[in-house]
């Protein structure tokens, strides 16, 4: 215990001054899982070994599109130690999150370079790898669909069966005889007519490449598929145990209750582990091997090349503005290069039609979003999906509009921002309870010391010094992207010593949810934070349901569920205490681990004396073990109208803004991020230390997307950079010199203590802010990410003011 005790007195050097009005909510407690993680004790799926476990390896297609002429696995099967070997013809299982478009193994045709063609399970990883090298595949190479332009021509269909693919109807809209997995639209007013009244119409095209999530723990799963019954037990590095259960049941056509999912600690996810990935393949291997557990772990190269990415995107935007700075009309077409399968990609496309306009009140606007199949590695959800990408388009365009109008970009944004009473493109009315994007922008602009744009003379003078600086900012808005009937739940039980144990169905894969929820429980029950124990490992057998651990919805939804469970537990204790103290529960209150009579506080009973049932002095018992539950249903949401996109998609908007100052080396094109100020209207800070960590971590991922990361493909769509050498993510050397988080607390009335989600948001719009700052520094507008030294130098050397 001594090591735990020492942790109570420490100096925390990151914190800004933040005073919470609550005893537990808002306090910077250390995270619940910290000690296990600094001692090497935390067990991840990657670390797990089960009795009799086999190791699997996979064989991948070297071609983006090819017909599989033949597969010969006889040599692999003959290798000593090989227990199972499967390929396309052995498995007829289709999987898919929103669209059932993916086979477990490529069957007949491969659709991307990296797709799994065959797999082996053997007694050791080395034997499995050797067996893979012995499989002989003959391919007939076919012409791949290289990009969205080719895909839209529809000369070749990535999925010739697109007209019959099972999908969620009314939400996703695959287009017949095309490569469009879903076409979603939204419309408010009449933008075509409104362009006629505009003083200035500006059209631009922006784009960004696919990027990888890069969880440090690659995808890994262990599956035990009972050959005698339908039962399948899964241990997986996955974000969403219950969604996984449901999709496994659908894929194998068995009952959901036959699927058991266990989630140990998860080494990062960022959306990439939200769906169903390795589990069906490993289940098939396990069944083939007689039902013993089989483990499959992706290598880093496979993680880049086989596991899904964030989709590349092209946004074409047309804006009409008046001379005095009002945006009259906006039309946007987003084309998502979603790769070979739809996975989460169609939901990203759908999100773009309600989240892809920026936090602006534009009376005439339309968005068309095409999620497009190509012969590339497929895409999925990635932190703040549909927002970082669309806001690269919108917030660069907003900056360019203000340049052309000669209006300060801060003033221009403030003029057009959503305010109480204004409407989003899905025609949701913004209220005080929605939070304030204006407060966020004002705060970061002040923090960064924005005094207006530089003149061209100032830029030229600075250029001669070899280093030029620029400040820029950009807005953020995001609501959880979720079905209208999303639900979560928690179970709370009291232990004999007065501790409470809380089980939830969601997963804490580093974001700190366990700690935040424990603080809410401690606040509600009024017991020490240390007396709330969160059960860290989730499994579908004992833990209550949660839809998905995604979308920055956990603190909001599970927080509300914890409040409900806590209040129900207090009510139970008041019932029992009322009997014991011979009074009505109405005259009782709770504080500091006791139920007491409001008028005579010395008449009280400790929680722990009721935890397992209360015993009178003569031994007679009443009550019973204290156990309660809480649920949260996303109330008030609706599906969107297929044509207009009208509806209520947003449980809670979190608005925010980043402002950055950068320094560009004019001879190398290298960008140093000097300072980032980030403000978010999060309603209420639950844990200051962890909010700050989210801000710093998200900003850094945003910097990665801005200046470093991106998939590069060859002329025949072979991925050229599936390693950290060629596909760099930020290191400690890329750290901004200063990150200033600013918490705006306009409470959301239905949030826990007024809180909104803050996780994905911190990454969104970092590229936009850096792009805007790069214009300030150079006078050059960049339209494509990433802003690598190479791309920036090519832009500078081209001598153009617009680098498209």
């Amino acid at each position: 215990m001594s090591s735990l005790c020492q942790l109570e007195n420490f100096e925390y050097s990151c914190c800004r001054d933040y005073e919470s009005k609550y005893k537990h909510v808002g306090q910077p407690y250390i995270r619940k899982d910290a000690i296990e993680k600094v001692t090497g004790q935390a067990t991840y799926t990657f670390d797990m070994e089960l009795p009799g476990m086999l190791h699997a390896k996979t064989l991948h297609s070297p071609y983006a599109r090819a017909r599989i002429v033949s597969i010969d696995t006889s040599k692999a099967r003959a290798l000593y130690g090989v227990k199972a070997c499967l390929c396309g013809e052995d498995a007829n299982t289709k999987v898919g999150l929103y669209m059932q478009d993916k086979m477990v193994f490529a069957s007949g045709e491969t659709r991307y370079q990296g797709e799994v063609v065959a797999a082996v399970a053997a007694t050791t990883e080395a034997i499995a790898e050797r067996a893979i090298s012995l499989i002989e595949v003959e391919y007939e190479v076919l012409e791949p669909v290289l990009n969205v332009d080719q895909a839209l021509e529809a000369k070749t269909l990535v999925h010739p069966d697109i007209n019959t693919i099972e999908h969620i109807r009314g939400v996703f809209f695959p287009q017949p005889d095309s490569n469009i997995a879903s076409l979603n639209t939204s419309r408010r007013g009449d933008p075509d007519k409104a362009f006629e009244d505009a003083d200035l119409v500006v059209e631009n095209e922006f784009s960004l490449p696919a990027v990888a999530h890069v969880p440090l723990e690659t995808h890994v799963a262990i599956v035990e598929a009972d050959p005698y019954t339908d039962k399948i037990r899964i241990w997986s590095s996955a974000q969403s145990p219950f969604a996984l259960r449901q999709m496994m049941a659908a894929a194998f056509d068995v009952k959901e209750s036959d699927i058991e999912v266990h989630i140990p600690y998860v080494g990062g996810g960022f959306g990439g582990k939200a769906g169903i990935h390795l589990e069906p393949l490993v289940a098939l291997l396990s069944r083939e091997a007689g039902g013993v557990p089989v483990k499959l772990r992706m290598t880093r190269e496979q993680e880049f090349n086989y596991m899904p990415t964030r989709a590349g995107m092209r946004g074409r935007i047309k804006s009409g503005v008046t001379k005095d700075g009002r945006i009259k009309a906006t039309k946007i077409v987003y084309d998502w290069d979603s790769g070979a399968y739809a996975d989460y990609g169609v939901n990203v496309g759908k999100t773009a039609v309600y989240g892809g306009l920026g936090p602006y009140d534009i009376e005439n606007a339309s968005i068309v979003s095409n999620t497009i199949y190509t012969n590339k590695v497929f895409s999925t959800a990635y932190r703040g999906f549909g927002h970082l990408e669309t806001l690269w388009t919108v917030e660069r365009q907003t900056d360019i509009l203000s340049q052309k109008l000669g209006i300060d970009p801060y003033e221009f944004r403030m003029m057009n921002m959503l305010k109480p009473g204004s409407k989003t493109i899905s025609q949701e009315v913004i209220t005080e309870s929605s939070g304030s994007p204006c407060d966020c922008l004002s705060a970061v602009v002040k923090e960064i010391g924005w005094t207006g744009r530089k003149t061209q003379e100032e830029r030229e003078r600075e250029w001669k010094t070899g280093k030029v600086r620029g400040k820029g900012f950009a807005m953020i808005q995001k609501a959880p992207a979720m079905p209208a009937n999303t639900a979560t739940s928690v179970i709370m039980q009291m232990v004999g010593d007065g501790h409470v144990n809380i089980m939830m169905g969601a997963v804490d894969y580093g974001q700190g949810a366990l700690t935040a929820l424990a603080q809410i429980a401690a606040q509600e029950l009024d017991i020490p934070f240390e007396m709330v124990k969160m059960i860290p490992q989730t499994n579908t057998e004992t833990n209550p349901y949660d839809w998905n651990t995604v979308a920055s919805k956990l603190t909001f939804m599970a927080g509300n569920a914890v409040i409900q469970a806590s209040r129900r537990m207090v009510a139970q204790m008041k019932e029992i205490a009322g009997q014991a103290l011979r009074c009505s529960p109405d005259v009782l209150a709770h504080a500091d681990g006791y139920i007491y009579k409001k008028h005579t506080p010395e008449m009280r009973i400790a929680y722990k004396d009721m935890a397992l049932g209360y015993a009178y002095p003569d031994g007679m018992g009443i009550g019973g073990p204290l156990i309660s539950h809480g649920v949260c249903m996303a109330d008030g949401l609706t599906n969107l109208d297929p044509k207009t996109g009208k509806g209520l998609p947003a449980l809670a908007w979190t608005f925010g803004a980043h402002a950055v100052e950068i320094e560009l080396d004019v001879e190398t094109g290298n960008i140093d991020v000097l300072k980032v100020a980030s403000a978010f209207d999060i309603g209420q800070v639950i844990n200051e230390r962890m909010v700050y960590s989210q801000v710093v971590g998200g900003v850094m991922q945003g910097i990665g997307s801005a200046i470093l990361e991106g998939y590069k493909f060859s002329d025949d769509n072979v991925l050229l950079n599936p390693s950290f050498t060629d596909n760099k993510i930020p290191t400690m050397k890329d750290m901004p010199f200063e990150v200033v988080p600013i918490y705006i607390e306009n409470p959301q009335l239905n949030g826990p203590y007024g809180a909104r989600g803050i996780a994905e948001h911190t990454m969104i719009s970092v590229p936009s802010a850096i792009g805007n700052a790069l214009y300030e520094a150079t006078g050059i507008n960049f339209y494509r990410l990433p802003l690598t030294p190479e791309n920036v130098m090519l832009g500078i050397l081209s001598g153009k003011k617009d680098c498209r």
Binding site: S2, S3, Q6, L7, F10, E11, Y12, S13, C14, I30, A34, I35, K37, V38, T39, G40, Y44, F46, D47, K75, A78, L79, Y80, G81, R130, V214, P215, L216, E217, T218, Y265, V266, G267, G268, T299, R300, Y509, G510, Q511, G512, R689, M690, Y692, S693, V696, G697, G698, V699, M700, Q701, S723, F724, T725, I729, P730, T731, M732, K733, M735, V739
Partner: protein, 185 residues
């Protein structure tokens, strides 16, 4: 069925077993110190130090996140210096002194460095944390007064996708200060 009978069976005859015998013939014995304890084990010569620690000694703290020496998650100290154990053969560690994350705390007390990782919130998912701690330990053992740049340099080989590094930097810097204070006392 006996082995002799199996060997006469056409199917079993076709079984490819060459890899089993060749691996066994080449085994070597290594003798080293891991976290202060002597370890003597017979291993295959192509075994990596990382796999030796994890698979043989069941020390699961060091992680494999790239297997190519690019991410630092498998970092341990070998004779006092940080190495990526996925690029070191176990036979190279013969006679060496190895320290892993499991050897950092003293009894049931977290070391100052571990405490600072906790205090500064220098971890989220925790998968890179053992490697981060060992790179930091290697730095502070060889350079107890590092400058900010020296911390950046020493830690730049360890990738983290969650934290954005700032809290890790703060933790290393603060641990250096506290270790200095402790030495002076």
């Amino acid at each position: 069925m006996t082995v002799a009978e199996l060997k006469n069976d056409g199917k079993a005859c076709a079984m490819d077993t060459a890899h089993i015998s060749s691996a066994r013939e080449l085994r070597v014995v290594i003798d080293l110190v891991v976290n202060g304890e002597r370890v003597i084990e017979e291993i295959e010569p192509n075994m990596l130090l990382l796999h030796f620690l994890r698979d043989r000694l069941k020390l699961f703290g060091a992680k494999e996140a790239c297997g190519e020496g690019e991410c630092g998650a498998c970092t341990v100290l070998m004779n006092g210096y940080a190495v990526t154990s996925c690029l070191v053969l176990a036979v190279e560690a013969n006679g060496a002194e190895i320290l892993t994350v499991e050897g950092l705390s003293k009894g049931n007390e977290l070391s100052i460095l571990q405490q600072e990782f906790v205090f500064q919130d220098a971890l989220q998912c925790g998968f890179c944390t053992p490697g981060m701690l060992m790179s930091a330990r290697g730095l502070l053992d060889n350079n107890p007064n590092p400058t900010d740049e020296e911390i950046h340099e020493a830690m730049a080989g360890n990738l983290c996708r969650c934290t954005g590094y700032l809290q890790i930097f703060n933790a290393v810097k603060r641990a250096a200060e506290r270790e200095r204070e402790e030495r002076e006392e």
